[in-house]
Subunit: 328 residues, 2 copies
């Protein structure tokens, strides 16, 4: 029942969107095969979602404006035809990754999206918090690749490249990847990735790719200490970007390219990752647990580890850790 | 409240166990610092758990027998002093791994045990079912190691060695490991391992090690097709083994040796794994997805992959797959 209502409501919206002038209640009731009273219910529901719909007597309904929300109805227009998976949207959420993991455990199919306008408990890597005010793009993708955990790091390389390229295209500026997978505009962070997985050793049950983009909000919505290292697209561009277009671009790329990226085209993503890296070839300081190392970042290994020639002369691989660039 | 009741009940049981003769209600009430009426409640609860306790008028309570169940109270007697974690027991369960994952997500500490007498939905690798009738040993360990997923395969090597050695000791016979980690007695499977994990790429949230041992039941409790490849300790020995001693031996070994096994002593476990392997040096057939390969199993890689020299002359690493030994 609920799904039928949603379906008719979405169809009603697309009828309104497709028409520059008003659409009569009679026409809508015919196209949706429902009563005029039912049409009115869909209109009311759409208004509640934030759509401004004018009711003109003796003429019908006119869509005046759509809300600036990442609603499934809006995203679907930007997703590739045939895009699989389901779309879940919440205005406020604890963490889209937590909700995506919960849905994945219930069997929600691959490529499904969990989207929120705001996260109260957004998470970054290693349990750190990730501030997620309204105007950003906060979402998680559920993936169900058919491989063992030894290949999971490929998803990280792929995601960083896709996100860096999508943001670059959206804002017309060069982006960079800071190992392992933060996206930078100039010297400041604008996007982040948190990949989580549930697996047997030989087989991944599901992977959740959490993506956060500091899009259409001013940096003063972030804590002062975060502002020192982070920026937003609004700050850099001086104007808002189309959030649903950017989100859909990332999701479409997963749908279209992930499978080949995990197999025969993986090497090309490694090459692209290296091109986008702002760390390789640089003098870096890496903290890993209590220890701090310094040296020169040489390359990434196939499993995503950072290869560093330490000042001590040793070469060392880092599976995890925090990198800072050294000035000299 | 519930925990205090459990605590007092368990203390009451140990008082009864420590005494060869009957213990008066008055003495028990004094030792437990509770009323005589409360003592009677603990006795009733213990009787419900399956303890046979005789009430002798004017003398007190005498423990006649303990149930053959893997109750926390029984296991604790066999676990090392200082053994951390909690013990959960259920007579019937769907799958101990599923329950352990649920508890782990709620924050249950490392080394906690989930034990069941029977599993209705016991699982083997890759979603296969694992028949788990009463009399077997079905349990899961929650682990919280501080490392990234690239090291998770070390847990597999460690677990296979620990389980093979514990079963060998319990039954006084040689055991073998069939890659990746089934435990064999002669040419038949007697134990299995299912390792699952929840992780970020850089950091494991938790690992659940599920262990199943075909212990004290006749093979005819298994489906005919399973009987062709599986045996039970009861069948091989002609007598039951002490289930709680065997379970505790495995858990204790995790508590005592896991940390060093994951770091400096890993190589020793690799060596021991190779000694116990019934596959290395043999002609094998491996099915991986739709494909079947044949060749000679040469070694395991550090990440647990099986290294096979194929009949075609190529060398190939298998992350997953099913191995059968070829006769020639």
């Amino acid at each position: 029942m609920a799904d039928l209502f949603k379906e008719k409501k979405e169809k009603g919206l697309s009828i309104l969107k497709a028409s520059a002038s008003s659409v009569s209640g009679e026409e809508m009731s015919k196209e949706l095969s429902v009563s005029r009273a039912a049409v009115w219910k869909y209109i009311e529901a759409l208004r509640k979602d934030g759509y401004e719909i004018e009711g003109i007597s003796n003429q019908g309904y006119l869509l005046k404006s759509s809300p600036d929300l990442l609603l499934p109805m809006e995203l679907k227009e930007n997703l590739s035809s045939g895009y699989p998976g389901e779309i879940y949207w919440q205005r406020d959420i604890g963490s889209t990754n937590d909700e995506a993991k919960r849905l994945a455990r219930l069997g929600t199919p691959g490529y499904s999206l969990v989207v929120a306008e705001e996260q109260a408990g957004g998470r970054g890597r290693r349990g750190r918090s990730w501030q997620s005010p309204a105007g950003g793009i906060w979402f998680s993708l559920i993936l169900r690749p058919d491989f063992g955990i030894s290949q999971a790091s490929r998803i990280s390389i792929f995601t960083a490249v896709v996100l860096a390229e999508a943001i670059a295209l959206a804002c017309g500026m060069k982006t960079g990847i800071k190992w392992p997978n933060d996206i930078f505009l100039g010297s400041k962070k604008v996007g982040g990735i948190l990949i989580e997985l549930s697996a047997e050793l030989e087989r991944v049950n599901f992977i959740v790719v959490g993506i956060g983009i500091n899009a259409n909000f001013a940096p003063d919505h972030l804590d002062p200490e975060v502002q020192e290292t982070a920026t937003t697209l609004l700050e850099v561009l001086g104007r808002p970007i189309d959030r649903k277009e950017l989100l859909a671009k990332v999701a479409n790329r997963f749908y279209e390219d992930l499978e080949s990226a995990l197999s025969d085209r993986y090497e090309r993503y490694m090459i692209r990752w290296r091109e986008l890296s702002i760390v390789l070839g640089k003098s870096v300081r890496i903290s890993e647990g209590d220890k701090i190392f310094s040296g020169k970042a040489i390359d990434i290994a196939e499993n995503g580890a950072l290869i560093v020639d330490l000042d001590s002369g040793d070469r060392r691989l880092f599976d995890s850790g925090e990198v800072t660039l050294r000035l000299r």
